[in-house]
Symmetry: C2
Subunit: 408 residues, 2 copies
Amino acid sequence: MSLSTQPYKGTRDFYPEDQRLLNYIMWCWTEVVESFGYEQYNAPMLEPIELYSAKTSEEIVNEQTYAFEDRGGRKVTIRPEMTPSVSRMVAARRQELSYPLRWYSIPNVWRYERPQRGRLREHWQLNVDMFGVAGIEAELEMIQIADAIMQRIGAKRTDYEIRINSRKLLDKRIKASGVKSDVASVIRIIDRYDKTPRDDIVKMLATVVDEPEKLLKSLEQDGPSAEVKQLQDRLEALGITVVTTETLARGFDYYTDIVFEVFDTDPENNRAMFGGGRYDGLVGAFGAEPVPTIGFGMGDVTLANFLQAHKLVPALSCETDLYAVLIGDVYDAAQAPITALRQADITVAVDSTGRKLDKQIKAADKKGIKHVLFVGEEELASGTYRIKNLQTGKEEALTIPEIIKQLG
Amino acid sequence: MSLSTQPYKGTRDFYPEDQRLLNYIMWCWTEVVESFGYEQYNAPMLEPIELYSAKTSEEIVNEQTYAFEDRGGRKVTIRPEMTPSVSRMVAARRQELSYPLRWYSIPNVWRYERPQRGRLREHWQLNVDMFGVAGIEAELEMIQIADAIMQRIGAKRTDYEIRINSRKLLDKRIKASGVKSDVASVIRIIDRYDKTPRDDIVKMLATVVDEPEKLLKSLEQDGPSAEVKQLQDRLEALGITVVTTETLARGFDYYTDIVFEVFDTDPENNRAMFGGGRYDGLVGAFGAEPVPTIGFGMGDVTLANFLQAHKLVPALSCETDLYAVLIGDVYDAAQAPITALRQADITVAVDSTGRKLDKQIKAADKKGIKHVLFVGEEELASGTYRIKNLQTGKEEALTIPEIIKQLG
């Protein structure tokens, strides 16, 4: 029996054309966050299971982690998110690090979910975190970065909406409606407000608070806190319009104050794309002195869906500049000019099959390589090579320095 | 009880200074392989367990994989190597792809091993593979690339040695010495030839072949095959000296012909760093038409050890160009000039703590950021900003366009 050629359920193979789009997304992320002074870090993909039991949402830990025992009996988890790992790393060097600390990472994160549009079992997720700034300037910067990324990928301001809220305000209103068990379980219900009929939310809330209708009305009608309003005004002055949304909760248990979320306004794809918020307590969970912290995460799958929905996927072509077509048995002799081209930063693939010329040219065309370079004994003797642009059909005879000048 | 700040055993946290070295290594890899026309691909980190049972070495599958059952009862493995995944991907699109196919990837791969120098439980591994070339030009190109990478990282030709052999020749000699069970188990013993006393190798061989001493002598004395000799000669003509080594085996079961390995010649670090070879049979294992294939893998841990041993680690500095020191309450007003700098590709971190100037400057210095930019009400009104080089102490008063000109 032969082996299956399919990737594991809910995951993706990245063929070169898929990888190019992922690289484009990662490049946009990196350019923007580095322009704000963020430095890259990474952590291992496996972490001890306890790392998530503390503060990640119950649903993720109990139902969605890839958790198992290693051959030495250690309980480990493939990271479902990066926030616990980065908090662990900062806690480990709490005293030595220089604040404000601006860090980013693009880990591959895994959750056991039912695969659906915008949600796979793995995705690449930009994580942007700032440690050491208690003031609202940290919130300003996070939302500036989120907005700058949307601008960098070519989105119009009407294509997305940034919503902000305060967990402190939520907490206060939840507590005023008579919490039966814990605030976290109320927040988990409010987190579903957007996707669930209001009546169902009321029914669910009735199991955890004394006055569900009063709570919901206060969220819907009583407006934002002074802090949220101030953040909105200061962002507006910087040219970034945000919407205060008192029902916005975010799923994770670790948020402590301002939270924000970026929504796609396209009616076909109307959903939260990414978000983040302040989580001042996490570094302290490792026994280190607490540090004010804020961050957000942004996945490649939802962003690629956004690019597709808004027709923002750029034309991305093969990175190879030249395809060397060999005429006769000249593989070894062709290496000198080809190496000279490579050393001048021209990328060159060689056809080393020995097949007929037309088949060699067809291969270059199929790969999307723009130019073919003909190399035979005559060319090697004269130092002049025919080069053909496969898109225009134009052919020229050029020396290696001339080719370097033209393509380099 | 607080959570541990340590990463999982045998793995690494990459703080920004560690990540910079890894990025440097990845950048060298990418530059070289793309110059040879290789395109990047990737595959999921989890694969069905059967993928490795077929052709990866027995030791890896039985003792070193991170294998477990997912929540749906599927048996999966965190990839211990990339070759089975890339073969699966090529098999899935065997007819549509255009050959020769040149693909590379830099996956994170995992093995459950006892952590030791040069061997951790995870590493980042460059994988370079070519599909569709049966001729020895494929071997030539693989070894050219391996050599070009060593050159690109600054190694002298005397710092490393490239060894080549033929699995076909090994097979022939093994069969001539009376195989008791299977050739693969003989190869696994020969693979340890370099690290094991000769007497022990003879004893081990006695359990699997009739004439262990005859076999070993033939490997030690009878020289290379004509094909290996030809490869050596053609590489020599291209300026790359390789050593024919008839005891060279490589661990994986899937190799079918030429294999090669790159050794560190430093007496302190004398070990195989990386290698590869031809594995023509793997795509066919997925029920697709077989395709001639060759490839190699190269890990970041052994390469970093090599860089350290040969003092080739470059000075890598913080990517942030400017640290904006704020004088007074000017955070919002400072955003316009700072955004202008960022849009001109100057990376700027802002001190948003509101602390004293000397503390802000000290933070920039500790982070290794070369320049500080002073922004206060006076500067904002005049449009002229003091900029200080923290390495030379030199201070200038410049407009934003002048700063862009100087640092851009």
